[in-house]
């Protein structure tokens, strides 16, 4: 289910759900959940199955249980749209959880911070921990290593017999680590990998290193 990635002597356990667990900090990193997207579509007449939204919450409960982290840090785009009924589900989840929850806010996060704060969340634009900078948008920093989301990275693999697949992936490049989108109703953006990049693809519940460098 997981694979380990080491950055600056820190261990990150990469989970097939798209979340990454930062072992030394006991912090669960989750990017681009896009809660509320299903309901937003339904509100405008597109009948996306509601189950896709329920599954998002289920995934979140499962992963929290699996790692039992001290902190959960959402790397932006936690909520897709303005408040809608999925907010109620999120409220219920936030009240239930005993974990510290931080939201690094992203471009989709239009819900005002005080509503999150009322639920006990901390909302920040960026989070600085040791030599790491956690943001939503990929950010270049002179000294700090950036962990971010936003891109919904995916990768295209080619094999003999002209085979080809596209998979969501964890993507590490120089000075930067990009998480895949956690949400069930999200697309992916296919990356153009460089020789030195490190890539872990999510394939049917497994996390597999597909780059030349482990």
């Amino acid at each position: 289910m997981t694979a380990s990635l080491f950055i600056h002597d820190q261990e990150f356990k990469l989970h097939a759900s798209g979340a990454a667990y930062w072992v030394q900090q006991s912090m669960l990193l989750i990017a681009d959940v896009h809660f509320g997207k299903v309901t937003h579509f339904r509100k405008y007449g597109a009948a996306v199955p509601l189950k896709a939204s329920e599954e998002n919450f289920q995934k979140l409960r499962d992963i929290t249980e699996a790692f039992n982290p001290a902190t959960i840090c959402f790397l932006g785009d936690l909520f897709h749209s303005k408040k809608n009924n999925e907010w109620k589900n999120f409220e219920a989840w936030a009240r239930d959880t005993s974990t510290t929850v931080i939201l690094v806010s992203g471009n989709h996060d239009v819900i005002p911070p005080y509503l999150y704060e009322a639920l006990g969340l901390t909302v920040v634009d960026a989070l600085h921990i040791d030599s790491f900078l956690l943001t939503h948008h990929p950010t270049e920093h002179e000294t700090l290593f950036n962990i971010c989301g936003h891109i919904h990275p995916g990768i295209r693999l080619q094999g003999g017999g002209r085979q080809s697949v596209r998979l969501a992936c964890f993507y590490k490049r120089e000075g930067q680590f990009i998480l895949p989108a956690f949400g069930t109703f999200t697309g992916k953006h296919i990356m153009n990998p460089q020789q030195e990049d490190i890539i872990f693809a999510i394939a049917e519940g497994q996390v597999v290193c597909v780059s030349n460098n482990p």
Partner: protein, 825 residues
Amino acid sequence: MNELIHIAETWFQQQGWKPFPFQKKTWKAFLKGKHGLLNAPTGSGKTYSLWIPIVLQYIKDNPNYRTKKSPGIKAIWITPLRALSVEIQQAAQRFADELDTGLTVGIRTGDTPQSERAKQKKNMPDLLITTPESLMLLLASKGYAKTFATLKAIVVDEWHELLGSKRGVQMELALSRFKTVCPQLRIWGISATIGNLEEAQDVLLGMDHSFRENAVLIKSKNKRKTIVKSIIPKKMETFPWRGHLGLHLLDEIVPILKKSKTTLIFTNTRGQCEIWFQKLLARYPELAGEIAMHHGSISKDTRLWVEQAIRNESLTAVVATSSLDLGVDFAPVETIIQIGGPKGIAKFLQRAGRSNHRPGEASVIYFLPTHALELVEASALKRAVQEDVVEDRIPYLLSFDVLIQYLITLAVSDGFFPKEIYKEIKTTFCFQGITDEQWQWCLNFITMGSQSLQAYDEYRKVTVSTHGLYKVESRQIAMMHRLSIGTIVSDAMLLVKYVSGGFIGTIEEWFIGKMKPGDTFVFAGRTLELVRLRNMQAQVRGAKKTSTNVVSFMGGRLPLSSQMSKILREELNSVSITTENKGEDWSFKSQELKALQPIFERQRRESVVPAADQFLIESFKTREGYHCIFYPFEGRFVHEAMSGLLAYRISLLSPITFSLAYNDYGFELLSDRPLDIQQMIDNNLFATDYLFEDLQKSLNATELARRKFRDIAVISGMVFQGYPNKAIKTKHLQSNAQLLFDVFRDYEPHNLLYLQAFRETFEHQLEEGRLRQALERINAQTIVWKPCQKPTPFSFPIITDRLREKLSSEKLADRIKRMTLQLEK
């Protein structure tokens, strides 16, 4: 009635014309109150066969018609292409005016300005010429029942074009409503020759007896003779074995162009059209100004200009796609050139018919092969034309996406009561088999967005009033629906505009998406430089440097029809017979087959040319992997299905991954590991048992269904394509059909729209019926397996095909261990 007919005959005489027997027959049938289908080719005076009796009926009903005009719309004329509407309007108006009837003829299409539309709404013209989409929009406007109460006739022109498409289903549904709203309605269709004319009539008139029993099918006897000439390469040795452009023979067409007034050069895709135009100009600069290009992505103004220029005889040649297949007659066109296989006989004949409209004279069409084996196709086409073989158009059944769109349309205008509408739609051909459960499913879908009411759900679309009226209350949802009715289902299209203003055409997003500002490309005959992408617009300027990056478009590959593939097989088998029984005597073969002699000889040397009772399998290894090629000669769609089926069945024997390729002649299973072909033959993998189940399980079917789902998602209103030319933000509502397909697969696999994608795949794409027949045929043949040293002439066009499917029975994680990343160069 004779008096009335006399009026028309007199008018014909005044023009110096004489009505054809089929025209008079149609006039009489209409005046007797009949419905029907008229089978007449383009350019045969079909407009007057139905417009005249509509006017005569008006004269009869209103004896004082010269002094007192009766208000309200009298007739609707449906045309599949807006480009045709102007010609029809002119012809119709002319007759109405010269008889002093005071009847007016109006056009309403996507091009009609808003002011004109508003005027029409207040005061409809007597004859309205419109498209199926615009008709749907009229049903989406308030009080439509009152507007159309006076309607006496609906004529559906080019019905064969609409029949095999979802626009045909739109028409069926609209007609079912009009039958109720307009008690005096007569329904007529006009169709070119197709194999299933009787069925076409049934689909048009629907299942209710009152219409069927009072209907006639009238066939015009005006048959035009067609002469097919192949352009045969002078040196077969250097003619390519593969390819689809045909540029090798570019020089051969110039003498043909010079001999005739205007020549239409038909290509099969827009991309091919662009390239031919470019290359013709590059090689023959003196043609500048004398040749033009016409395809569906070029701006309407340019297209109209080209059409006018053809009429003025100011052009030597026009390179075109199917955008010029239909419609108006261009008298100066003397010659047609078809580049590459047209894949169907009806299409080929239709194109041939665009030339030489002088009665009694034959149409001439040249066939230019793009690769060697296409000469067999040419030979087969000739025979098909001689023997009068034409294809069927298969109507859609149970298209729930169109039904959902239609129900919301009715809910947007005046609302509807399900009981009344259910009765109507059950009389359509498309929905004759709908069950009560399926109907209820559709109603639930549009009102609740699911099959049961769910807590905290905010789904909004159609609401049900206390007395049971289904209605859309939200103005925004109504507006979004109206906008989506007209959207052409295709890849996301971007407008191409000059920075300084000026619209050039539309281009598919994937093509422009891979370009950076400053990159150049060739489009609409111009070299352009991309300046920026903004709001679904590609802003460009003229480029100074030249570019080889010619714009290309997805899709557009047509499969061989079953009728064509049968004749094609017979042509090929005749070669096998020749070589076996008659020695090297080729003298009685067609010139196309004779030209192919060296290639057939090579094929025989390296493998075999299969006879009628043989089924050929070839295997060989190249740098790319282990190839295994099968030759059913059944057309692309059947091969697509059969390759998936076979790959699936082989993959059950042991874990393996294939990439599949197919063309009209055969298909390939390519693997990174060798394949045990004897084992495959021993296991009887061509059996027809469990065909449907196996097909459904093959990953291939899922991939195809995923593609079908795109149309379904757009038509049913699941994907909103945005406001045209408006900068209103819809970003939060953008998704793609791919994503929706996955969500349905994972969370709502019984959704009727999701299942429809699979059904369409089996019925229209994989052609399950044809596949079964093909398998039965193969089972009666002897399998001939030839292990070869290298690719054979027959295999070459298949193995070089880049459009591929895949099928695997291996674990994904195992597979990707053998794969590599494509690194950026």
